[in-house]
Subunit: 336 residues, 2 copies
Amino acid sequence: MDVRPTRSPAMTDVARLAGVSHQTVSRVLNDHPNVREQTRLRVRAAIAELGYRPNRAARALVTGRSQLIGVVAQNSTLYGPASLLAAFEQAAAEAGFAVSVGSVGRLDRESIAGAVERHLDQRVAGLVVIAPVASADDALEDMPDGVPLVTVDGDPARPHALVTVDQAAGAKLATDRLLAAGHRTVWHVSGPVDWYDAAGRIVGWRAALEAAGAEVPPLVPGDWSAASGYDAGQMLARMPEVTAVFAANDHQALGLLRAFSERGRRVPQDVSVIGFDDVPEAAFFIPPLTTIRPAFDAVAHAGLDLLLAQITGVSTGSERVVIAPVLVDRASVAPA
Amino acid sequence: MDVRPTRSPAMTDVARLAGVSHQTVSRVLNDHPNVREQTRLRVRAAIAELGYRPNRAARALVTGRSQLIGVVAQNSTLYGPASLLAAFEQAAAEAGFAVSVGSVGRLDRESIAGAVERHLDQRVAGLVVIAPVASADDALEDMPDGVPLVTVDGDPARPHALVTVDQAAGAKLATDRLLAAGHRTVWHVSGPVDWYDAAGRIVGWRAALEAAGAEVPPLVPGDWSAASGYDAGQMLARMPEVTAVFAANDHQALGLLRAFSERGRRVPQDVSVIGFDDVPEAAFFIPPLTTIRPAFDAVAHAGLDLLLAQITGVSTGSERVVIAPVLVDRASVAPA
DNA sequence: GTTGATCTTGTGATCGCTAACAATGGGCCG
DNA sequence: CGGCCCATTGTTAGCGATCACAAGATCAAC
């Protein structure tokens, strides 16, 4: 008897123990219908006894498909992407898939292409790209066909499967809320304009203003960071006519809040502010921030559904899902 | 000639094109030394021409090791874990590994065990568990041997490879800073006490107080959330004697700030506050928050190094690395 | 009791790669 | 010039699963 450092049991080991062929074990594992109940139980018992665990690599080799889904996202501690990723992993786990992340430092074409490459190397079953900027879409142009792909927050004009938050609707919600409070117009501190998210919010903001017949003030550009919100606030605080600001995200809103506070403009008495994202801390800003909440878990679930549909061949991969955000009213808005 | 839907090229295809055997292709791919330079070039050219991409599943099957590293983390949009994950993926990518995430809703034994199982199913080459609570460690007890494992922020007493931030040192830094500003003592709003991070910060805080001969006030427990900081602040603000508070993280500090502001206690004139984490927005709190910055990317790199050492067999897996945090001075501390 | 259909199980080939070993050829030494 | 060593390349055998096909068992119907 040679006792070697026990390698983990393979299908044949289970088969031998259960007194059947390896193929029957395979059938049990894959819930094949034509297996006698008694046999099935015997095999199950053998599996449990040995602590057998199917070798995914072997399966992937023969089927050509792994149980891995790749997610490409920006290397990001931004609240939005982080929430998306978490929600997505949760949903994927329920469906029996693992999620491999490929975060990229910047969302330029090269970085994205690199991350996609790394995933294709792993023979992922499908790919989710959180691609909020145009350059990311470019990188997807030369994706090999046949790889299930879903874009999140990508170019709404692309012919790919896509899940997005309805940015424009959210922006409209915010703008209308401020207008309804009696403000003559609403200023907007935007995100980086090459992000679709930012662009959509700008569109919605402008549309709401125009629909209400309000003047459209110049756009104040930002870059999602609290710092850029602060800078914008430093400027806006000097203009007495500014009484309502819609910030493209909550962090920028935080910067705004601080700038206004520094310059003695009270929120909401002097200036009303609305943000976007509903980060967990938003309720504890000074004052508590009224904001727009995108349903990240709905986005994640929708994205996974679309992807699984493609993986299983049910779908051709051109559906799109748009998730409507909601307004969360807190204390940063007051009548003009 | 049968022209079938072109399957992706395999090693033999490359071999045929280059006029060598598949084994030689394999050698080139794995940087084997004994290959003539000219041959190597021919093979490389063939690889490029076909757009060949090695099949990881096949390789994993024969070597028994994948190029996948599993990370188990809390389903978390908490800044700390999110940063860690991002930094970790970056480091892993550089080393040619992909990262599969398994986020868990709660850090109880069952959830962790489940996530670990899912990863073992994928035959990961190694596992990183961000396990800041005792229950997580329990789950690791019955890990099969032989799987390289590194714990991040886990139980310092465990005999496993471990990377932690020196929580106590950070807490001491904060406490000393407040003491040095002339405060008689420092109150502490802690994180959940079953988290090692929180426990370590409590230890450091208490030690610093005792070393300075200062009175140790009762501990105010929190749960990392801004809400818990707010609640704590509501209480502390009623006590005139409270002039210095060390919050276990920045979000709790934010809650404190808001509670103090509501109750008319000015920060830093009436009360000084220090946080922990240095979240990107901390500079834009009102006032800008003095805080402790743990070097997340250093943690991630150290963790990966430890893991790779185990994977390559260089290490036995009992090393530990402790990362020292630094104090970031801003505007939430003033003399008593 | 045979026939044919259906259920159940087994056999062998195969996926794409690496490990182990064998074979070839050139250079160097005595 | 024969022999030995080393560099280089090829051959063969798996890794552990699925797939395609075949074979035996079972059962209903005639």
